[in-house]
């Protein structure tokens, strides 16, 4: 490893310096925000946009759960219900889960954690926000003027021939937001390659940066294929030529191949940054070096590469060839190994650490628990025999919500609570945040565990009505969803409250070792007075002489 100059974690963080000149009070007025090229301000712009999208998607989810309280779908009629779950899917996937951690926490902290003053292409960074807003405007306009009822998967020939809702504006909006993802991915890859501080070798990069780098690889290589697949559907709707239309010689499965070539790597775009955050939180709050740094770092890259080989496990029953289904099944098991490595390494990191129960750690432990269950049920779906039964049922809904909501959103909450003092210079109330973590965890378990049982019973997804005997489990799930909604509203309240009334947080409230903690909170526009020279690895919480190489 590297020659290590001793970094003794300060026992008590230094008294918070009075807020001097920082990126927030460097300039005022709307122009300074809307034309900024400072990666920190762009991150705040994204934070506001993405949070709005999250609550819009959440509103759709609440209506869906309310409608499913009774088996006869009495809240909304079938068409509205179809539009609701499509809106929930489109908004949550493309306008919240895919962008959230890279554009909010990644934009803000990637340059700071590698000792750079800004991303490689600041203007491109601002352009990516405007492209994102433009895409979101298209999609929201399509939803307000009548919605779209194809499901977020837009399967042809339904989306290209028989759906008469505004499919084209929604698809345009998503393709445009795809270019925003490509721009962010490009920015991150070039920044990590070209702008690390002197001495910061790849072996000393924080794991959050490794996971953002892996996510950017997927963003760059998967999103173009989505743009092409959705554009072909637009072309087919406009010109009535049968690319995917079987009566004109096309094949609906080709759309599914192109769509899932993006959409499976996309689920790793959503969860990988969350894994990076959890690696930061576990090490900081257990005050201990990560267990197996190289394995955890290269597991992210492994996931990024292997995630491109597995997409057709979404099409096992869709009529693909038996042999190709078997190839994809065995590859799907290969992609599960790096995730397993990460979970075991996090658990081993806690061993003989000094664990402090702060809010971010509660979110991180919640992530590990729920992500493990989500990943394990993924193994069910990779088995051909099992997927035959549970495909397109509520088992699948529970599986991906365990990973998306239990994993990504929980990790995002953890990261937000971990870096909030650095972003705003204010501490949030400790008690309320721990309560929020608990409520979210309990609400989540109550919402999605019953859905595994519903799934195996065979209740299909996207059903406006269902057989009466499934009602009790659905009511349980809807009850859990209301607790979950409360859990998500709490942070919105006390985080905004902390902006005004939170007591000022010093440069390093958690005693963490990252480069970003060696700047005042909130940091100045140029992050570092002079580019820092890095001489030690990322998680040096223990003094040198205590080194024990286990086994």
């Amino acid at each position: 490893m590297s020659t290590i100059t001793q970094y003794v974690p300060q026992a008590v963080p230094p008294p918070p310096s009075e807020p001097g000149e920082n990126y927030l009070n460097a300039a005022f007025g709307l122009r300074s925000w809307l034309l900024t090229t400072d990666h920190k301000r762009i991150a705040i712009l994204y934070l506001v946009t993405v949070t709005l999208m999250f609550f819009l998607g959440g509103a759709a989810a609440t209506l869906i759960r309310l409608n499913l309280m009774t088996p006869y779908g009495e809240l909304v009629n079938a068409d509205t219900y179809n539009k609701l779950f499509t809106m929930h899917g489109v908004l949550m996937v493309w306008f919240f889960l895919v962008p959230v951690i890279p554009v909010v926490l990644g934009n803000f902290f990637l340059p700071m954690m590698i000792g750079a003053r800004d991303l490689a292409f600041p203007r491109l960074n601002l352009a990516s926000w405007y492209i994102f807003i433009f895409g979101a405007a298209f999609t929201l306009w399509a939803i307000t003027v009548g919605g779209v009822d194809t499901g977020w998967t837009f399967y042809t020939p339904f989306s290209s021939k028989s759906s008469h809702t505004n499919v084209i504006p929604t698809l345009t909006g998503i393709v445009i937001s795809g270019f925003s993802s490509i721009a962010t991915g490009l920015n991150f890859v070039v920044t990590v390659h070209r702008m690390r501080a002197p001495g910061l070798t790849w072996g000393r990069l924080p794991l959050f940066i490794w996971s953002l780098y892996a996510t950017s690889i997927i963003l760059l290589l998967a999103t173009p294929v989505l743009a092409m697949a959705l554009s072909l559907v637009i072309i087919e709707r406009v010109f009535q030529i049968g690319i995917f239309d079987p009566s004109l010689g096309g094949d609906p499965l080709l759309f599914q191949h192109l769509f899932w070539f993006y959409s499976h790597p996309a689920v790793y775009i959503m969860v990988l940054p969350g894994m990076g955050i959890v690696s930061e939180l576990i090490t900081c709050f257990a005050r201990k070096h990560i267990f197996g740094y190289t394995f955890v770092a290269w597991a992210s890259i492994g996931i990024a590469v292997l995630s491109f080989l597995v997409w057709a496990h979404h099409m096992f029953v869709a009529g693909q060839a038996v042999y190709s289904a078997m190839i994809f099944s065995i590859l799907s098991y290969a992609v599960a190994v790096p995730s397993a490595i990460k979970v075991f390494n996090w658990t081993a990191t806690l061993y003989r650490g000094s664990v402090s129960y702060r809010a971010p750690l509660l979110f991180a432990l919640g992530f590990i628990g729920l992500f493990t269950m989500g990943g394990m049920t993924g193994l069910f779906l990779a088995a051909l025999g099992m997927d035959m039964h549970v495909h397109d049922t509520y088992f699948i809904i529970a599986h991906f919500h365990f990973i998306m909501v239990g994993g990504t959103v929980m990790a995002y909450m953890g990261g937000l609570h971990y870096w909030w003092p650095k972003m705003t210079g204010r501490m949030y109330p400790e008690g309320w945040s721990k309560l929020a973590a608990l409520i979210i965890f309990v609400g989540f378990i109550l919402t999605f565990l019953p859905q595994f049982v519903l799934g195996y019973l065979g209740m299909p997804r996207r059903y406006h009505t269902y057989p009466p005997e499934f009602q009790v489990l659905n009511v349980m799930s809807s009850a859990g969803a209301s607790i979950l909604a409360v859990g998500y509203l709490l942070p919105l309240v006390y985080l905004i409250w902390s902006l005004g009334y939170g007591e000022p947080a010093g440069p390093n409230p958690w005693g963490a070792t990252g480069l970003e903690w060696q700047t005042p909170s909130p940091p100045p526009t140029d992050n570092f007075v002079a580019t820092p020279i890095v001489t030690y690895g990322p998680y040096e919480y223990s003094p040198l002489e205590e080194t024990e190489l286990v086994g």
């Binding site: 008590v12 079938a78 068409d79 179809n82 009822d149 194809t150 399967y155 020939p157 339904f158 028989s162 079987p246 009566s247 609906p252 499965l253 005050r287 201990k288 070096h289 267990f291 197996g292 740094y293 394995f295 869709a318 009529g319 289904a325 078997m326 065995i330 098991y333 190994v337 490595i341 075991f344 658990t347 081993a348 806690l350 003989r352 650490g353 000094s354 664990v355 402090s356 493990t372 269950m373 394990m376 069910f380 088995a383 051909l384 025999g385 099992m386 035959m388 039964h389 019973l457 065979g458 059903y463 406006h464 009505t465 005997e469 009790v472 223990s542 003094p543 205590e546 286990v550 086994g551």
Partner: protein, 358 residues
């Protein structure tokens, strides 16, 4: 009230037992590992909680052997899971030979089911217990999915193509039938039931249900109504290959390729005649796409194709129906009782380009 809350679906087919076996194995393996991880985390979090801010922790960087262990062990379990799942999938994708075939046509928001003996049902499928049945499915418009939770199998029904699946019901009862691929407004309404009956009850049901002639007979009427016999029958004016003994045989094509004459080939040749032209014949057949459906008897295009295919399948040498009058027979009028040899028909020697069926 609680007693009525089902927590586990009934097992009503041979496959169901095997899928449940795989479920128990998966739950056991993943459950124990998840439990282990959770217990370890909680134990470490409590045992090594922070007592004072100045706690000193050991600098453990990792251990290669431990990493190797939790890379290889999961891989081993994954391979077992893969093999178990793949073997079930393998059996489901190979229907037993000789199982009776039921045709299913998915149409936006209903299932139209046709039994070989002519019974037609909507959203209902009656099956005899203990006897495997093979389903040949297609869709009229968008992708649907024929899903019977009690049989633990589903198959996406794709327009423009035949897909097949099979069941071997083992328990009498009425089970849910769902459409589990989103297909539009009434996707949730496209449900029905599969009724598995005892041997005797099934035969009574078969006899009791009104069926205007078997699938093949309806195909024969359609064959005459569409005047296919003007070209596809022996005699001086024959301008198209005879369809006798066609089903299952290997057909030599004009461009040198060969194809097995199955349902898909017959369906494609009716809709796109120029796609696979038989060797030695000219591509003069017009497409019948769009002309098969008959609003009167709510016969959809896919059902007409199924009936024609069923009829062609039963054609033995010399049985091509001979038109006894110049104007087309009205629908339903028997032109000639099946099986009796008309005196005037001469059995031609084998036309070029066709081998004996395998």
């Amino acid at each position: 009230m609680v007693a009525e809350v089902p927590l586990f679906p009934e097992q009503a087919s041979t496959i169901a037992g095997r899928v449940d076996g795989l479920l128990y194995f998966l739950v056991a393996v993943t459950g124990s590992v998840t439990l282990l991880v959770t217990v370890l985390i909680l134990y470490f979090a409590v045992k090594y909680r922070r007592r004072s801010d100045g706690d000193r922790t050991p600098r453990i960087l990792g251990s290669f052997r431990l990493e190797l262990f939790w890379t290889v062990t999961p891989l081993f379990f994954f391979l077992v899971m893969f093999y178990w799942g793949a073997s079930i999938y393998n059996d489901v994708s190979r229907p037993p030979d000789g199982a009776p075939e039921v045709y299913v046509v998915g149409k936006q928001w209903m299932w139209k089911i046709q039994h070989p003996d002519g019974q037609r049902e909507i959203n209902e499928l009656h099956l005899p217990v203990g006897r495997p049945v093979k389903l040949i499915l297609t869709s009229e418009d968008v992708i649907h999915d024929f899903f019977v939770p009690a049989f633990r199998t589903k198959v996406d029904v794709i327009p423009g193509r035949y897909v097949t699946t099979w069941f071997h019901p083992t328990r009498v009862g009425t089970y849910h039938l769902f459409c589990s691929q989103y297909c539009g407004t009434n996707h949730a309404g496209m449900v029905g039931s599969v009724v598995v009956m005892g041997e005797q009850d099934y035969d009574d049901w078969l006899a009791g249900t009104r069926a205007e002639g078997s699938l093949a007979l309806q195909g024969r009427k359609l064959f005459l109504k569409l005047q296919c016999d003007t070209c596809h029958s022996p005699g001086p004016h024959q301008r198209a290959p005879l369809l006798e003994n066609l089903y299952g045989s290997t057909v030599h094509l004009e461009d040198g390729g060969t194809v097995t004459a199955d349902d898909a080939y017959i369906r494609e040749s009716i809709l796109y005649p120029e796609a696979k032209v038989v060797q030695g014949w000219r591509p003069i057949m017009p497409t019948f796409k769009g002309q098969l459906a008959d609003k009167g008897s709510e016969l959809t295009e896919e059902e007409a194709l199924i009936q024609l295919a069923a009829f062609i399948r039963t054609l033995e040498p010399g049985q091509t129906p001979v038109r006894t009058e110049s104007f087309p027979a009205p629908v339903g009028a028997p032109t000639r009782p099946k099986g009796k040899e008309p005196a005037s028909v001469v059995v031609p020697e084998r036309p070029p380009g066709r081998e004996e069926p395998p």
